[in-house]
Subunit: 431 residues, 2 copies
Amino acid sequence: MATAIKIPATAEDVDRLMLDLGHAARAAAAELALAPRSVKDKALNEAARALRESVPAILSANETDLAAARAAGRNAAYLDRLMLNPSRIEGIAKGLEAVAALDDPVGDTIARWTRPNGLVISRVRVPLGVVGIIYESRPNVTADAGALTLKSGNAAILRGGSDSHASSVAILGCLKRGLAAAGLPEDSIQLVPTTDREAVGAMLRGLGGTIDVIVPRGGKSLVERVQNEARVPVFAHLEGICHTYVDAAADLEMARRIVVNAKMRRTGVCGATECLLVDANARQDLMGPLVKALLDAGCEVRGDESARKADPRVRAASPDDYGHEFLDAVIAVKTVDGVDGAIRHIARYGSQHTDAIVTADQSSADKFLQRVDSAIVLHNASTQFADGGEFGMGAEIGIATGKMHARGPVGVEQLTTFKYVVRGDGQVRPG
Amino acid sequence: MATAIKIPATAEDVDRLMLDLGHAARAAAAELALAPRSVKDKALNEAARALRESVPAILSANETDLAAARAAGRNAAYLDRLMLNPSRIEGIAKGLEAVAALDDPVGDTIARWTRPNGLVISRVRVPLGVVGIIYESRPNVTADAGALTLKSGNAAILRGGSDSHASSVAILGCLKRGLAAAGLPEDSIQLVPTTDREAVGAMLRGLGGTIDVIVPRGGKSLVERVQNEARVPVFAHLEGICHTYVDAAADLEMARRIVVNAKMRRTGVCGATECLLVDANARQDLMGPLVKALLDAGCEVRGDESARKADPRVRAASPDDYGHEFLDAVIAVKTVDGVDGAIRHIARYGSQHTDAIVTADQSSADKFLQRVDSAIVLHNASTQFADGGEFGMGAEIGIATGKMHARGPVGVEQLTTFKYVVRGDGQVRPG
């Protein structure tokens, strides 16, 4: 069942191999577009069953990857991203079942209206077609991304990291068992069988027009390469430089809880707040309690003069600390001149991802929510809510900060597009 | 008021000029995003007034363009696309007023839901930002495109054909009078002031990240260049290779009216049917009456053997006649094996634009509508309805056949995107 890594001899071989994948995906997509929900759900549930029945085989493949990574001197965090165990495999299986439980957007009528001439026009949801996912390290993405694309009626071409290839192959085998059990095309989910770097280049060029969108999941250099080279649409975010602005009219206790959660709940996620903005015009002392709460929670604070005055543990912020994604227990702090100052700072330093205001003043909140041009803006809540699950989407394939087609969490619905269906009874257009 | 064509000395000068346009547009867009509908409508209505007051000046500028075109030996159709007269100028003014009468999508709440933790999440419409329109010949596009982008809260950068530059400049002057009267930024609508070809290249590269989407309006070579070179999203269609399939279960009289209208109403529009598909399995003679009706309407018919048997005026179709956009009173005709045959033919030869089925059999209709992967699919109506106005959008900036963000007619709503607005009262995310 495992697909051996084909070693193409030349760049031409890689191109041909990749084009074949693209055409196979396109053919599978034409069938998947018509698959009823029950069939797709059966594939997902059967895949979950196959996973549970294959734990020893998956762990064995994973050990292959881990041994190679250890031999290459990878650190503990790296190995942890690679590692599977029975509990994590169960989590992957549960994830497949959770996607099966989601509503199926394909075929939904988004809008319908009747024209004066009697034509009935509907906007109907259809799958995008073929989704390419390029990812690093985490073998669970093989299942997560494969599940979301399948549920939305798309074919998937997965290009995982070479360091987790054996694990991904083992997981893919379980997905394919699910596809077969449901009678869906084998090529609905394909894993790129070569670790040749040229394969990624071929995907970014669009595989001869067969790929509709690419989703990169991984570190900054991967996303940057994809955004720079891709000739097809991309759903991605490069950085999550998220801000929490605490306004003069904020409730201090609320602000403290929100700020600490926004930074410290999980420092490595894209929705973690990287910069705290504090209103210069507050009558109460906001800076002191906020800075202390962060420091006491184990966060390093790099701030301006006002922040440093609040606590001797605060270090001086350098200019590079603003607009910087720490992905760590480090935060930059700046004083700003009210909500206008916060809006200006975010416009300059933000990454259009997620930004929040804490205030009891509704008009300041409205101004912030309207003028901050980010995918997600929050009032009196933590930026850590930037997540498809938290939004009620059930699952997401990533978060997009671009403005086209999908913005914010990319769930099943965002992997679809629409067509216009026009029903008449003989209408012809005048003149 | 007319902007002289700046002649940049070097490629660097062009780049700098274009980047300045981009930054000015981006700054204007930040203001336009907040402009209330009444202000945008005032600009449009005042621009319409300015147009009506400027007829002699516009005609004079237009004569400059026409004289140059005549001297260059342009043919009658070309001159007609360039030509303005009082009636056409009135049409442009009315077009501005029609856009003012449209609903303003900006700020609309597309969806709203409350999470179990009490967070209220809304998806709210916002402008895309900066729209680049690259067009040929027709000076009215200066006003049409400028109006739609303004109404949707976007800034516009217009790059018209050099052959209509003087006319476009005169029209732009009227638009800017409208902007000034409404207190909107002067740079809300900018015309690229150089005819240097490099200026288009700079737009296609995105003007330093300031352009959000490009809309090409013109012939195939323009659209092809844009689609191949653009590093930013594009709303476009390359070809309108539209089909009308007449099924065995079609009402013959309905089919005749629809087919003749779909081909002959206006042969130069992208929604004109270029290929008639006729069900081989019809008991009645469909081919004969359909072919004759087209021939009698003045259409040249190029068909397969069955079509040629129907009438001696039918010429033999060459393989290149299928999948060909004639944009003329010429049609290709082919016999296909039922709705499945029609679907296969369209999948191979179509351009994913607009395709129609004529039948009284609902299940054949449903199959066709579901399986034909085009922006617009019609049952028992003419493909000539592929038009924003006919869809009830009021106006369109073009028709898109891509699947991302906008598909089919691109109206005011399609020039917007959305952001998530999350309102809480102190929620923090667990674990």
